[in-house]
């Protein structure tokens, strides 16, 4: 057990080892310390990773929406990843208004065509890019802002019929989620 005891007890000085032995010990010490540090680092990883979305959360990361019942001019809100997604069936006027804007006048220039897959269907994440409130404009009675799209009541950001920021503190246009048309009347978001 006690190693001090098993070590040969010749009459050397208490702190005798010098020269090459000293270097070897330092090298061993350093490698051991490095190994231990690697070990501690490896232990931290699973704990950090455990706070990332779990497999069940990731599995729910896509949702399907049936577009058929949405009439022209109507909007619906669906939940996706715990956030509202705005789906608007745009009228010809909406589309025209969205296309008639000079891009260089926009705070976040983006053509309407780049924000939709089919012009009459606008799909966006309904979360204001300023500080995360949900803008108004989904229901017919809502305030739609000065540009006929959406209006965020928290800090007064105005979005147009393409969901682009036109006035107010929001830095970016409303985000467009990844989605695909499964068929003509169904989309899968995510």
């Amino acid at each position: 057990m006690a190693d001090a005891a098993t070590a040969p007890s010749t009459g050397t000085a208490p702190h005798g080892s010098t020269g090459p032995a000293e270097t070897r010990r330092d090298f061993l010490k350093l490698t051991t310390a490095a190994m231990a540090a690697v070990g501690v680092g490896a232990v931290v990883w699973p704990f950090i990773q455990s706070m990332n979305p779990s497999a069940s959360v990731l599995a729910l990361a896509s949702t399907e929406v049936d577009l058929a019942p949405i009439t022209e001019g109507q909007s619906i809100t669906v939940m996706w990843r715990g956030k509202p997604v705005f789906v608007r069936h745009r009228t010809a006027d909406d589309i025209k208004a969205a296309n008639d804007v000079a891009l260089n006048t926009l705070p976040d220039p983006q053509a309407d065509g780049a924000r939709v897959q089919k012009a009459e269907w606008l799909v966006m994440i309904g979360v204001c890019t300023h500080l995360g409130c949900v803008p108004l404009g989904q229901r017919p009675t809502d305030a739609k802002g000065d540009f006929g799209g959406w209006f965020c009541p928290c800090h007064g950001s105005h979005y147009d019929t393409s969901g682009r920021i036109r006035r107010g503190p929001a830095p970016r246009n409303l985000d467009v989620p990844e989605y695909t048309f499964v068929n003509d009347t169904n989309i899968r978001i995510g």
Partner: protein
């Protein structure tokens, strides 16, 4: 040294000896040990067997037994492709809702859905099964003392008649390995009850073996990852222990007075 050895043995006995106790009710024989693909310290699940086992579950057991901890997406673990999983899920109708009218509705399953339970709740299950409750099978291997060996023994341990001298019991079935022998579940597996796509003959023992493999995976889906990680962690620790011991020897070598 002896004293330390003795004490270590004592600690080991404390640590390992005790919990072996107290499973086993009465006179049921111990299930014979089987050779499992996932057995031992380094075993892994036989994928083909687990897939066949899933087929047996789906076509036989699922009529009564739920597996509500398992989702269709989990089947990727035993080697099913995304398309196969989608097809399997779409085959069942899942209750969802409420919809915009406030009604619950049925829709085809998705990979993210849990395995569909055959009964809405325990009472419904008992009502149809003569008051017996077909247990959830998600954790069956971990939830029975004998584990995989027990499940296999149970599935293959039915007798048409109780042993001589034992009066028959109405609505109950004799099983060599079930605690108390009389089990409400009738013989679940019979030869050629299912047809395996890979041509494996569907004997009772083959189906029982495959089903057990599937259940073992369902109970411990992390098993392979766990063992692989364990090997690495323990090797690392052994090396680190050796190096630390070296450093310790060097440091203590100073103490010679």
């Amino acid at each position: 040294m002896m004293r330390i050895l003795r004490t270590t043995a004592l600690a080991a006995a404390l640590a390992l000896g005790l919990p072996i106790a107290a499973h086993a009710a009465g006179e049921v024989p111990k299930p014979p040990a089987q050779n499992w693909s996932f057995g031992g310290l380094f075993g892994t699940f036989d994928r083909a067997s687990a897939q066949r086992g899933f087929q047996v579950y789906k076509e036989v057991c699922a009529a009564c037994h739920a597996m509500k901890q398992i989702s269709y997406r989990n089947l990727a673990d035993i080697g099913l492709s995304d398309a196969e999983i989608r097809a399997i899920a779409a085959d069942v109708q899942v209750k969802d809702g409420p919809n915009d009218d406030g009604d619950m509705f049925e829709r085809p399953g998705r990979p993210s859905d849990r395995f569909r339970s055959p009964f809405a709740n325990e009472k419904a299950a008992r009502a149809v099964n003569n008051g017996a409750y077909p247990v959830d099978l998600s954790l069956i291997i971990k939830a029975r003392g004998g584990g995989a060996d027990y499940l296999y023994a149970l599935l293959t341990g039915y007798r048409d008649e109780p042993p001589e001298g034992v009066p028959a019991m109405d609505g109950m079935h004799w099983n060599d390995y079930f605690p108390g022998h009389w089990i409400a579940m009738g013989r679940p597996l019979n030869d050629d009850q299912v047809t395996f796509a890979d041509g494996t003959p569907a004997t009772t023992s083959q189906m029982a073996r495959d089903l057990t493999t599937f259940m073992a995976w369902a109970a411990e889906p992390e098993l392979e990852e766990r063992r692989a990680m364990g090997v690495r962690v323990i090797l690392f620790l052994i090396i680190l222990a050796g190096m630390t011991y070296g450093v310790k020897r060097k440091i203590w070598a100073d103490l010679k007075h």
